[in-house]
Amino acid sequence: MPNPGPEPRFHIETHGTADSVRQILIDLRAFVEGLGPDADTSGTIEIVMAEALNNVIEHAYAPGCEGPLWLSAQRDGGLLRVELRDTGRPLPGFKLPQTNLPDASGPLQGLPEGGFGWFLIRDLTDSLSYRRFGAQNRLTLEFWLNRAVQP
C-alpha cells in the first residue's frame, strides 16, 4: 500500500476580530468537510470553534485591546485535533471554567442572552484541555470525525 503522505494541516494566524473569526470558521469548515466527516460533525465543529474563538476576542483580549489568533487543525487517526492559541488574559484560575447552562426557567425578562459558550464547547468536544504557557493561552480540542467506527 503506498505511503499516504502527511496529513494536511489547516493553519492560520490572524488578527482577532469578529469578521476574521467568521472567515476562519468558513475556511475551517471547508477543510473539515474535505476529511469526510459524519454528516453533522462539521456543523458541530463549527459551533464549538465559533464559541472558542469568540471567547478569545471577547474575553482574553480586553475591550479595545485586540490581539492575534493562532489556529491549527489536523487529523490524527480518527480525530480532528484543533489547537487555538492567543496572547490574551489567562482563564480565571488558569483552568477551564464551570459549564452549567444558564437558567432558562424563569420569567421572560430574566431569560439568558449569553453564557452558553463553554457549555457548548464542553458538550460537543470529545476532548478539551487548556494550558497557560508563558504568555500564551493554549486550548486543545478534539473531535471524532466518524462516530460510527469510534467508541
Binding site: D40, I47, Q109
Partner: protein
C-alpha cells in the same frame, strides 16, 4: 442585517435574509428586529429557513428580540436548519420558543370547533 417583513393572517413574518446570525451581526440583528416589530402585530414569526449558522451571540440576540416584544406579544421561530436547531436544542432554548418546521406551518389557520 437586512430583514424582510410581510404580514399574513394578522401575523408579522420576518425573514432573515443573511445566512449567519453571529458575533459580527448580533447587535445589528437586535436593532433590526426592534425596528421591524415596532408597531406591528402581536404575533411575530421569524423565518429562519435561510439561516445556516447561529452562534451563542446570535442565540442571545434572538432571545433579546423576544424579550423586547414583552409578555403581550409572541415571537415564534420557523424553518430552523439542522446546525441552528442543534444550538437551540443543546442550550435548552428550544423550550422557550414555539418552533415550526416552516412559515406555512406557523401561520396555518386552525380549523374551527
Amino acid at each position: 442585517m437586512k430583514l424582510s417583513t410581510t404580514t399574513k393572517n394578522g401575523v408579522a413574518i420576518i425573514t432573515v435574509t443573511e445566512p449567519r446570525i453571529d458575533a459580527v451581526v448580533a447587535i445589528q440583528f437586535k436593532d433590526a428586529m426592534r425596528a421591524a416589530t415596532d408597531g406591528g402585530p402581536d404575533r411575530v414569526v421569524l423565518d429562519m429557513s435561510g439561516v445556516t449558522f447561529v452562534d451563542s451571540s446570535g442565540l442571545g440576540a434572538i432571545v433579546a428580540a423576544m424579550k423586547y416584544l414583552g409578555l403581550r406579544r409572541k415571537l415564534d421561530l420557523a424553518g430552523l436548519t439542522p446546525d441552528v436547531d442543534k444550538v437551540f436544542r443543546l442550550t435548552r432554548m428550544d423550550s422557550i420558543f414555539d418552533i415550526y418546521p416552516s412559515v406555512a406551518a406557523a401561520t396555518a389557520l386552525r380549523a374551527a370547533g
